[in-house]
Symmetry: C3
Subunit: 99 residues, 3 copies
Amino acid sequence: MSLQLVIHAPDEASLARARSNARNLLAAAPDARCEIVVNAEAVVAAIALRDPATDGLVRLCGNTLRNKDLEAPAGLKTVPAAVLHLAERQAAGWQYIRA
Amino acid sequence: MSLQLVIHAPDEASLARARSNARNLLAAAPDARCEIVVNAEAVVAAIALRDPATDGLVRLCGNTLRNKDLEAPAGLKTVPAAVLHLAERQAAGWQYIRA
Amino acid sequence: MSLQLVIHAPDEASLARARSNARNLLAAAPDARCEIVVNAEAVVAAIALRDPATDGLVRLCGNTLRNKDLEAPAGLKTVPAAVLHLAERQAAGWQYIRA
């Protein structure tokens, strides 16, 4: 079975690593499924610093957006709650790393 | 099956995120089981900054308490070794996030 | 079944915690299998600050070594891509913590 990996980034430094992790994973395992789940301070950084190579993998936390009074820009998807999404993906058999 | 999530916090910033994660998880999935496993520098922060809404979920690392010559205050539970607890919970089917 | 744990360290602070986590795990569960998977800034720290008690558990990320123009010194093993190794270990049933 192909790998299915959620990469979790809650701050700016981990978001930069997460984008690099995702590029490295897909270079080594092109069939892998991969999401970068972004919450807390990393949501601000994901909106401010776009990356065409990995923006399609990003899932912004809806709770963080609401708490910070932000809106997701075009091209960045959201999930209602990052913590719930990360738990549900693992319960469905995905692997997890915290960047 | 309900979600079962251990949230790991080894420093002060991640402890604050972990408490927020736990609140968001239980708001979205009231049947979920959730623990906040606290070790290293986060143990000092968990004792200094209490949070009635999530203190009941906290598990302080016994190794850290001993190494820092601290005692768990009333209302905060402990586990003998955070690393062992986190591995055992996952081996028993729990999901994991590092806040 | 014995525990099998990958401990992930992408920066210097988390590497120090990872080494401590590994010592605590093996003290509590001597039959556990354990690896410390090191990438990003932590690779520099792992090479600069050696620890005889845990160096045998370290796996340096080959992508980071190449990107930083570094070589693994004698006594420290490598994996081609930390992100892939961490996903594959979990897919094979290992537990994961991010130190």
